[in-house]
Amino acid sequence: MFKDLDPILHSQLRLAIMSLLIGVKEADFSYLKEKTGATAGNLSVQVQKLKEAGYIEVVKQFKDNYPQTLCKITDTGISRFEQYVADLKAYLGQ
């Protein structure tokens, strides 16, 4: 039934991450953790999967001597997200 939906996005946490990133320029890892309520380990794994798929960019840097991970949706990520929403709407007959 769901075979046509993008399997990368059709998972709760990855979809939550993409939904948060779609409306912003970039977000800190701690922001994603706070908003999704996920554990750091699980979030880190899902962020990596999205990065490997080319849906997001991940920049690791130092800010005030502390490591900071910034996540940003890519053009591919935007088009895949839009396609996913369009597919969902088609399923729901909207």
Binding site: F2, H10, S11, Q12, L13, R14, L15, A16, S19, L20, I22, G23, V24, K25, E26, A27, D28, S30, Y31, E34, K35, T36, G37, A38, N42, Q46, K63, D64, V85, L88, Y91, L92
Partner: protein, 227 residues
């Protein structure tokens, strides 16, 4: 939250919920607005008082506006450190305010340079402008100046304020900017003394009051998050 599969309805619900969460997490602290509202209000009102009651505080009060850049840099650095997310709107509005800041400095530069250049160009062409006192008939060399310079400042104040207010749909800032346009029109018909009063009042309406409202909203939301 896990890697579980979702139904179509659950997916759409999750997308909506996360987009709403992202929207709610955008907080303006109002600190910069309060800083500039206070600084420009003090400069405008003190300058008006000096002209109205013929006294001098011993230095150009508008230098305070230059000094206000120092705490602004500190505020910007601190807010940048605390910020966990940057929206496209924030980036665009920051750029609008940077361009505004540059334009204000360019305009102040223009106020200081153009009169001297005008006189030099006149002198080079062998001309000099005189002003004749219609009562005494005495003529004195006319010093060139930028007429109603305060009006140009008011016009410039309103632009980024209205853009910000309309973008955030923040009524106090929209009202402040509209009032600023009103002060601009009024200042076209008044002398420099009243232009300074309008500058001070515009800073209060444009930035100080909206800044205090923003600050109050920010502190309430922060307190709500900590409960």
């Amino acid at each position: 939250m896990s890697e579980q599969q979702l139904s179509q309805q659950e997916s759409l619900q999750l997308i909506t919920e996360m987009i709403q969460k992202a929207k709610k997490s955008i907080h303006e602290t109002g600190t910069s607005s309060i800083l500039w509202g206070s600084a420009i209000a003090v400069c405008g009102l003190v300058n008006f008082a000096e002209r109205q009651w013929q006294f001098s505080i011993g230095f150009d009060v508008w230098l305070l506006a230059m000094i206000a850049i120092i705490p602004q840099v500190w505020i910007s650095v601190r807010e940048s450190r605390e910020r966990k997310v940057r929206t496209h709107t924030q980036v665009v509005l920051n750029n609008v305010w940077i361009v505004y800041g540059l334009s204000i400095f360019a305009l102040v530069f223009y106020f200081n340079i153009v009169p001297g250049v005008t006189e030099r160009l006149l002198a080079e062409s062998g001309s000099q402008v005189f002003a004749r006192n219609t009562t005494t008939g005495i003529e004195t060399p006319f010093r060139s100046f930028i007429a109603s310079s305060g009006s140009l400042l008011l016009l410039l104040y309103a632009i980024p304020t209205l853009i910000t207010g309309l973008t955030h749909r923040f009524k106090p800032m929209i009202i402040g900017a509209v009032l600023c346009y009103g002060f601009f029109i009024a200042s076209l018909f008044t002398d420099t003394r009243l232009d300074m009063l309008f500058n001070g009042l515009a800073a209060i309406c444009n930035w100080l009051i909206p800044g205090l409202i923003l600050r109050s909203l920010y502190l309430k939301e922060k307190a709500g998050r900590n409960v």
